[in-house]
């Protein structure tokens, strides 16, 4: 049933199976030769082409990715440099502003100092003038008052301590009132 399906095995007992039939050697040789030519011409080059194309596609992709990567890192480098520049610029500006500010502050302080000195000295001189005026007027008044007081003391009895002090008080009250 097995190998007999469709084709009949010959009934007669053939030669030993290890004795080759020349026809089969030739058929095997020719058949393989045909297959070899066919595959060498039609299959192998096409498979190799697919292989090569694929390798190129993958390597091309890798190369493109590499270029993109390099560009990206260059851009990043540039932005970083720009950022650093901007930072430096800002710091410089800040530094300048600070210096300028301190100069202005110094000037203002000096001005204020000057003004204060001026005001102080003006006040001082006016106080001095007033004091001088007061001193002068006091000098005159003290003289007159002393003279008056002395005359009053002389006019009163001087033996009574209480009276003496009353006189002085009264005098002072008069002075106070006359003012």
């Amino acid at each position: 049933m097995f190998n007999r399906f469709g084709f009949l095995a010959s009934a007669e007992a053939g030669a030993s199976p290890v004795i080759p039939k020349p026809a089969e050697i030739i058929v095997g040789f020719v058949a393989f030769g045909i297959l070899f030519m066919l595959l060498r011409a039609r299959a192998v080059p096409r498979f190799e082409k697919a292989y090569k194309d694929r390798t190129e596609a993958i390597e091309g992709g890798l190369a493109r990715a590499e270029v993109a990567q390099r560009e990206a890192s260059e851009a990043l480098q540039m932005y970083k440099a720009q950022l650093a520049d901007a930072r430096g610029e800002a710091a410089k500006l800040r530094e300048e502003a600070r210096a300028e500010g301190s100069v202005i502050l110094e000037q203002m302080r000096a001005t204020a100092q000057e003004e204060a000195t001026r005001i102080t000295s003006a006040a001082r001189s006016s106080i001095e003038a007033e004091r001088q005026a007061a001193f002068n007027s006091l000098l005159n008044e003290v003289g007159a008052i002393a003279t008056e007081l002395a005359s009053k003391i002389v006019g009163e009895s001087l033996d009574d301590q209480a009276r003496q002090s009353r006189v002085v008080e009264r005098f002072l009250a008069e002075v106070e009132k006359s003012k």
Binding site: S10, P20, A23, R40, F47
Partner: protein
């Protein structure tokens, strides 16, 4: 088992090498026997499969291309590049065809309806062994020159002189006789024995089926065995195709090597 069956019923004829002989299907021409037709069928089958598979050569392969390319890549890299080395690309078409041709013809052994491994006829293995034989000698002579090649085989360098008495005949025998003989014999014998084994269980099962009731049950085991062995055979068929190709690649690699 045969003797047992023969005793039980002398009607059973165990399979023999005669089951491997086929009468011409029509006419008297030897070109129209089943094995010969199967061999040519294998050329058409394998040739058209791989031609179609490789036709588009797309970067992203279709299923068909992937199937063909997997086999091609396996032979190209495992047997070509890894065994032969830098010059492997010259031999890839040969190794690839060799593997495909043997594999297809072997697998015919378990394909329903075909069911005959053509390599179980020793003529076919011999036919392709001629290719291997000529190739590895030709490659070596072309690479080293005939004189150096023969000298290297006969007088392997770095060996004490008396050893040549034994070594030289052995080496000559290996290169000229043993290698092609074992190459074709191994393939033939494996396929022959495998097919015979399947015949025993299948024909045995068939015979048991026509016997008494209890023996009818036994035929179930016989057929199960035949089916199990078919899968086992499939493994052997692929393995033998691989071994034949591997050894050819090794012989070529040896021919290309500087020292023999």
């Amino acid at each position: 088992m045969h003797t047992l069956l023969s005793q039980a019923n002398s009607g059973f004829v165990p399979p023999s090498s005669a089951d491997f002989d086929f009468a011409p299907i029509f006419g008297n021409s030897i070109l129209f026997t089943k094995p010969v037709l199967l061999v040519f069928f294998s050329v058409i089958l394998a040739g058209s499969f791989f031609t179609l598979s490789a036709r588009k050569a797309a970067i992203v392969p279709s299923k068909l291309q992937f199937a063909g390319e997997s086999i091609y890549t396996f032979i190209r890299n495992e047997l070509g590049r890894d065994v032969i080395g830098p010059e492997f690309m010259r031999f890839v078409p040969f190794l690839f065809s060799l593997f495909v041709f043997i594999l297809t013809n072997n697998i015919f052994g378990v394909v329903p309806l075909l069911q005959f491994p053509t390599m179980s006829h020793i003529g076919f293995p011999i036919g392709i062994t001629i290719f291997s034989y000529v190739t590895y000698h030709y490659v070596a002579i072309k690479k080293h020159g005939l004189k150096k090649y023969v000298t290297d085989i006969c007088f392997m360098p770095g060996i004490p002189k008396p050893v040549y008495l034994i070594l030289t005949p052995v080496e000559l025998l290996t290169y000229l006789v043993t290698r092609p003989l074992t190459l074709s014999m191994r393939l033939f014998a494996n396929m022959f024995a495998g097919h015979l084994l399947l015949l025993v269980f299948t024909l045995g099962g068939e015979y048991l089926l026509t016997s008494g009731l209890i023996l009818k049950f036994l035929s179930l085991f016989s057929f199960s065995f035949a089916i199990g062995l078919s899968f086992f055979e499939l493994g052997i068929q692929a393995l033998q195709a691989y071994i034949f190709t591997l050894l050819t690649a090794l012989y070529i690699a040896g021919a290309l090597a500087d020292e023999h």
